[in-house]
């Protein structure tokens, strides 16, 4: 049952990811990326991480992709539609990508530690409560650093995108 759902969502994620890279129009890429993020959030639910699934939908689908679509609306994408890929020979990049993928897959499937079918350790109780306790006790400093980075990015984005410079 789990495996069927996993294969369904994984196939959806791979197909929509290919659509992102192959689509001619950036709007189609953005919509396909949104669908891909939804599939990945379903996979997070299969991994028993419901908090991450909801955060994925809120942040990626709700915020980041809407930002992308706003920028696509603001700028003229018609001239970039004509040619999808970089001009010239793309063979070295393709060879590099195939080598990368084959290498990672060989490493995964030749290692016996990664072929576990059941969780090596199980956990019980209220998982989201334990997660937030860990996040706000052991990882409080990185959390605050992340909030400062977000504030800096907010100010920086406003300054960068401003029309007139003082």
């Amino acid at each position: 049952m789990d495996q069927g759902f996993f294969l369904l969502f994984a196939a959806g994620a791979v197909v929509t990811a290919l659509t992102v890279v192959l689509a001619r129009n950036p709007v189609h890429s953005a919509l396909a990326l949104m669908a891909c993020f939804l599939q990945i959030s379903a996979i997070f639910i299969l991994l028993e991480a419901p908090l991450l699934a909801v955060v994925q939908i809120f942040v990626y689908v709700g915020a980041i992709m809407v930002l992308f679509l706003f920028v696509i609306m603001m700028i003229d994408v018609r001239e970039a539609v004509l040619q999808r890929f970089l001009p010239g020979s793309n063979l070295p990049a393709l060879v590099l990508l195939v080598l990368l993928g084959v290498e990672m897959l060989v490493l995964v499937f030749r290692s016996d530690r990664l072929s576990a079918t059941a969780p090596i350790a199980t956990r019980g109780g209220d998982q989201i409560r334990q997660l937030s306790t860990t996040l706000f006790s052991d990882y409080l400093l990185p959390f605050e650093a992340a909030s400062i980075i977000l504030l800096a990015a907010l100010v920086g984005a406003i300054v960068l995108a401003r029309k007139e410079w003082p």
Binding site: L47, A49, P87, A93, L114, T134
Partner: protein
């Protein structure tokens, strides 16, 4: 129960597709979207390993990755809007001001 290797294979597939988008596409918007795909494939790995070892740190790292990605996208799109306003191009092979 789904084996751990399946999740890692999915993440490898998404990583390779996203890297292909970064290396091969000409439109800077699609390059940025492919970067999102790369970061998401890494998140799948973090959460899968965290699940199979019953460790919350995988999920916590994934939360931080998502937060930093949001910051990165905001800055990148701000730079993109400023770039399009000044140079009026979206092709990455036209943007060679810094001779990279």
């Amino acid at each position: 129960m789904v084996p751990l290797g399946w999740y890692i294979s999915l993440s490898v597939a998404l990583f390779v597709i996203g890297a292909a988008g970064v290396l091969l596409r000409r439109n800077i918007l699609v390059v940025l979207m492919s970067l999102e795909l790369l970061l998401n494939s890494v998140n799948i790995n973090f959460i899968a390993f965290g699940h199979y070892h019953a460790d919350f740190r995988g999920q916590i790292f994934a939360i931080f990755v998502i937060a930093i990605t949001a910051a990165e996208v905001a800055v990148a799109l701000g730079i993109l809007v400023a770039l399009v306003r000044n140079r009026a191009t979206l092709k990455i092979d036209d943007i060679t001001l810094m001779k990279g």
